[in-house]
Symmetry: C2
Subunit: 283 residues, 2 copies
Amino acid sequence: MNNIFIIGVGLIGGSFALDIKTLYPTCTVFGIDNSEKHIEEAIQLKVVDQSANFEDLGKADLVIVAIPVDATLAVLPKVLDFVSDQTIVFDAGSTKEDICDVVRTHPKRRNFLAVHPIAGTEHSGPKAAIRNLFKSKTNIICEVEETAFKLQEKALKLFADLGMRIRYMNPKAHDKHIAYVSHLSHISAFMLGKTVIDKEQNERDIFDMAGSGFASTVRLAKSSPAMWAPIFKQNKSNVIETLDEYIDNLKHFKQLMEDSDFQAVYDEMEKTNHIKDILNGIQ
Amino acid sequence: MNNIFIIGVGLIGGSFALDIKTLYPTCTVFGIDNSEKHIEEAIQLKVVDQSANFEDLGKADLVIVAIPVDATLAVLPKVLDFVSDQTIVFDAGSTKEDICDVVRTHPKRRNFLAVHPIAGTEHSGPKAAIRNLFKSKTNIICEVEETAFKLQEKALKLFADLGMRIRYMNPKAHDKHIAYVSHLSHISAFMLGKTVIDKEQNERDIFDMAGSGFASTVRLAKSSPAMWAPIFKQNKSNVIETLDEYIDNLKHFKQLMEDSDFQAVYDEMEKTNHIKDILNGIQ
């Protein structure tokens, strides 16, 4: 691979760029971003080598589309219009159904691989790019059979070099399950942050009392709204389903407390405690 | 200080013991615990020097009561019955109103300091005890004026040696605010864990998709139900208030999604984003 294009030089695109430059030192990494400031920052931080335009995509061996999922719906077909038959293009979006749909009948559909690397932090922008972000992380690939075999191989080689483990899934199942293990966590954190901040407007001392438990639980409330609002829009029905279940569970817990049934409160927590074993596999 | 008694040799009591043994190497640290196994473990791990009984408390210079808050209500008056006039006793419970109430008219009330160190992890038992757990952490002291001045000084010296920063508060305000910044976070994490685990019973692959964001948000769901059920019981009305507000915020967010008002969804998150600045002060 000689010419690698990163569309969206933020946390995800920038972190891919940094590792790619280490793995394939002879390649040139081009950055495309609609923020001139981000491109300049990315070049200055040596996240990418140089700036580029869509017209340059013809010479690309690999294109990574790492922008908010609403922008992906507009940009991805345009990228496929520009690339050559030998180019592999993959996205990194947290939704897969709408993205797969938008290129379903594109003449270059077989140049595209639908990818969701389960990796990230709550930070954003080129400064948030870090090395080894993808190491040992799960990478979900959807509709792999729709991608040309020879081009799949190029992407899979990169994922293997990055140390990722691959899971294959259909876009519908991806969007349904990711709503539970990722999208709901973000709403839970944002609303926890909101609940406490609303209180704090009158009670300035409250955050002095906050410890590392609170910090951990609301960490995701630092995430970028520009990234997350489009995800919730594209995964609306699944996310609403998880919210319904979450709200029901909270109401049930509250009812047990109102009934002063603290044995049942204990049991609720005890039943969930085995999340320990589940989480051991994650961190 | 020569003889220091730790009642409850778990995460909090054990962590105090470890630091105290480093700070005051000539003292003897005695452990009292209703679990014989925990006492043996604590001695083996050199968390405490030896086992003791309530009858030995007469020789104590300092007693730390670090047990679930329901047990504290029963044990604390008994401890005060046994100690000498020169002994300072403090607790470490996450509720303060009921605990202050139970000793309000005790003849040795002035030997007691009501304390809540904002420190801990999601682990429990003697094995969870770690050094420097309290360093740079907030320590909330309630009703300080009810404690004999000379005895306060002993405890404050220890907290200063541990590197803690002190905040004074009345028990009512403590319980109200801590419900927001600590108790609610735990319920939010437990119910998030429950929501996802309930789903997982049918969908085994779901946790393969979970990343560090999910792990961080549900971390507190590993916490001990034996510690937390009594906290929720003692802080029932405050916790129910926070749950009401949290559930209302989640329902409002869901409503915005149902209305497809994703600009408002964006704004909700954007308004909460400044939690960044608030959290910078915590971790």
